[in-house]
Symmetry: C2
Subunit: 319 residues, 2 copies
């Protein structure tokens, strides 16, 4: 609960903050935002994140102080875990012996922390860090504002997703007042791709087709395309949404070659068309409108099979 | 001024509202929002817009009541012109004899109205309509909220552009409280393209190249591509921004064939690289980071010429 977190911070001195591996904007922005808040209150705080920080977040204030260590070393009064479903997610050893504070806006994980503050009504943990700052009587500094705004922008897809509430935008408004620059922060996320992404995009998009109903779009990424494009991990993030933006399209199948006759598949859908259910049949999973699976076999056959399953699903939904 | 507008509305009864031809989200959203506000105050109001309403706006409440007439016929106490630089912009005859109210957030036009209310600090006219509603003591109904939210989202590029202020997001927050659904409104704009746009995108993107410095990207759209894609006007909106999103790229040249050896050219740039200046040399114009021009000649030659001019500009800027 929030009150427990406030009490802990008031009573204690030395903190560590971490988030899940492959950190996203909410994980990094909220961790750094909390770090700046703790420092402004006269506490010490280390942010520990495993692995590389994606370029979109290189300009966040404090990003240069992030530590990438395997073991929790240092004597901390408590460790904050931001957006982690369990103690393993940060990829740091020694957490099971620590006093842990689990801060999340997803209610799906176990309450594994010594303290658990879970708020599923928050659009992002960033929103919770803002609330914490207010609850503890802190000032929203420019640094906190920049970091928390990044958290909000990325977790709401630029205030597009349905998790965007009046509270989200009220908080975002306050962060701008405190100095956050929307154009700079959005630009760091959405105008900061490597050129290899454009090269890969044109190759992948060149394979896009629709089934005979026009409602299902499908496209492919071969290993050769990755190589020809000099692509890095993450370059194809969001490609699957390009054909989905067409109003005729109700579902997208995006198959990526990962080895001989082996593919990772992203499924996307609109409205009540449930692709998680389809992914589960193949041992995959996800949400209603965004799911993934892995599949082996002949590419054409497997593509045709998935198209056919989606066609059946769309037909049965209409009746 | 706002006070004059409030007084006019309080004293008079019958209003018309119009905006520029080829209406955008701010023009339509603000016109319809104002119409709902006037109706909620017991006034009569007609919205008159010339030409087709783009699909993104088909679900705005009141869109079915929009009238497309050549002449201002009907006896109106006043006509509101939303985001029009002059009396010609709406494409309606008879406006010069009317009592006109010029409402705009651009300060570039002449103050042509009988009353002029210009607020360059507003991110969109939508923000001004919200302020008007508050000033006149009106209630933000669900209809007003939907229309004005659309105005804000489109004119700020989903709260990305630098015109986004704390006030913009505060207003957006209030509109959500009044019933606007961010995901639905953003979806209507950003997930509502015809399939032909995807077909055109993959053809255009397949031509993308960079110059030897890697800083200038250029691509083409032929008339044949339009035909093969069954493309309609507007399908290529935003394409020029795709290569611009790469961090290495400082400028983009997008040439579209409009006839034999004749091309419409869009230039985009980042930071202080001024492409309006370049466009002006060819009789075109625009803003610092977004400009356009028309050019005739051999395609390869003209493309090489523009690349070379941009290279010189980038070099001189560095020194």
């Amino acid at each position: 609960m929030l009150s427990q977190v406030v009490e802990l911070i008031e009573k204690k001195k030395a903190f560590a903050i971490t988030t899940h591996v492959k950190p996203d904007g909410d994980g990094l922005g909220s961790s750094l935002g909390l770090c700046w808040l703790l420092k402004s209150l006269g506490k010490t705080a280390d942010v520990i994140v495993r692995g590389e920080v994606p370029p979109a977040y290189h300009k966040l204030p404090g990003v240069d102080l992030i530590r990438d260590v395997e073991h929790l070393n240092g004597s901390y009064d408590a460790v904050f875990l931001i957006e982690c479903s369990d103690l393993e997610r940060p990829g740091i050893r020694g957490l099971n012996e620590a006093f842990t504070v689990n801060i999340d806006h997803h209610s799906t994980g176990d309450p594994f922390g010594t303290i658990n503050w879970i708020d599923p009504t928050a659009s992002a943990v960033g929103e919770m860090i803002y609330n914490l700052c207010k609850a503890i009587g802190g000032r929203i500094t420019k640094e906190i504002a920049d970091c928390v705004y990044m958290a909000l922008v990325t977790d709401t897809g630029s205030f597009h997703y349905s998790n965007t509430t009046d509270r989200t935008l009220k908080v975002a408004s306050e962060l701008i007042k405190a100095g956050a620059k929307p154009a700079e922060i959005s630009g760091a996320v959405y105008n900061n791709y490597p050129w290899s992404r454009i090269e890969l995009m044109r190759r992948v998009l060149d394979t896009v087709k629709r089934d005979e109903t026009g409602k299902i779009a499908y496209m492919r990424q071969t290993l050769a395309m990755r190589q020809e494009s000099d692509a890095i991990d993450g370059d194809n993030n969001g490609f699957v949404n390009i054909p989905l933006a067409a109003r005729e399209v109700e579902a997208v199948i995006y198959m990526r070659e990962i080895g001989a006759n082996s593919y990772r598949v992203s499924l996307r859908s609109k409205g009540d068309l449930n692709v998680a259910k389809i992914a589960e049949r193949f041992g995959g999973g996800g949400h209603r409108n965004a799911a993934g699976l892995q599949i082996d076999g002949n590419w054409d056959d497997k593509e045709a099979e998935l198209v056919s399953i989606l066609q059946t699903e769309i037909k049965s939904r209409i009746q």
